[in-house]
Amino acid sequence: MHELSICLSILDVAGEEVDRRGNPQVEAIYLRLGPLSGVVKEALLSAFELAREATPFRSTRLVIEEVPIVVYCSKCDAERPVRSMQDFSCAECDTPASKLIHGRELELAALELIE
């Protein structure tokens, strides 16, 4: 369980962005999360409830957009999804995939502000 430390990092990064914008109220934090980030969405959402207490974000929502895994398939010469995390091969032609394009994202995508 490292989702609580991840939440504290989310609040740190969001805090810096809010400071730079003159401390508006933040309605929501939008996060992009890949399945290979090593972070579990549900655990992150519960940890966020705890992490936001006693911070300026106590009424802020965390909105998570899940980013699918995308690899570069050398046979298709194109970006493709994979069959699954357990079967890391091109969903179109079954070629084993070694070049990851998307899936590790753990990114603060946007902030919803009231100004």
Binding site: S98, L108, A109, L111
Partner: protein, 221 residues
């Protein structure tokens, strides 16, 4: 002044701070000419025994290895590794389930890393949390012991997918536990196609030659 919510795009990596520290470390390691390998696995898969053997063999061959080990509560691992006579630093993480780059930075303070050929970082025994954190290493090893079952890679695809080299440990026990070698290898390749794999025993030294040859290729003399 409007009170309509407005969405502003930010696009920032949440672990940017860790990644920055890791990038700085990687640059320092490269300048100092030290090859850095980190080890991840579940508890009890033989990380410390593997590292103890590795440090001892490298010392015998005239290399200068060192190790940083993460442990939740005890200094037992560091004490075991110190028997190899290589410099060892312990990071006691308390309840933290993984190492972060800043901890490595602190741990190596006081070491002249240009005096080292190899640095090994033993992460906390955990197949989930360490996958998110870059430690500035050159390669990440994931260890899988024959006693754990062949399907570990399928259960923990994220950590296997983040690794560069898979090491199957305790191979001397393979027959006793009816380890299905082909299934294990195929599962590793299914989760991380093309990942090189080694099979070895820290106890009998079986397979250690290939590992030593791999390390020697990273530090040609």
């Amino acid at each position: 002044m409007s009170t309509q919510p407005r969405i502003v795009e930010v696009r920032r990596n949440i672990l940017k701070h860790n990644d920055q520290v890791a990038a700085e470390l990687r640059e320092r390691f490269q300048k100092a000419g030290v090859f850095v390998a980190s080890l991840v696995s579940s508890p009890g898969s033989g990380k410390t025994a593997f590292l103890e053997k590795t440090l001892t063999l490298l010392k015998e061959k005239g290399y200068r290895p060192a190790a940083v080990v993460g442990d939740l509560a005890t200094a037992n691992d560091a004490e075991r590794l110190a028997r190899s006579q290589a410099p060892v630093k312990q990071i006691t993480t308390g309840t933290l389930c993984h190492l972060e780059a800043a901890m490595i930075q602190t741990a190596i303070e006081g070491w002249d890393i240009s005096e080292l050929d190899f640095l090994f970082i033993e992460n906390v025994g955990n197949l989930v949390c360490p996958s998110s954190y870059d430690l500035g290493e050159n390669i990440r090893l994931v260890l899988l012991s024959v006693t754990e079952g062949e399907d570990k890679p399928l259960k923990y695809p994220t950590i296997f997918n983040s690794a560069d080299l898979a090491v199957i440990t305790k191979i001397d026990l393979a027959d006793a536990v009816e380890f299905d070698r082909d299934a294990a290898r195929s599962n590793i390749q299914s989760v991380r196609p093309g990942m090189p794999m080694l099979e070895l025993s820290s106890k009998t030294s079986q397979g250690m030659d290939a590992w030593m040859a791999f390390l020697a290729s990273k530090r040609p003399r």
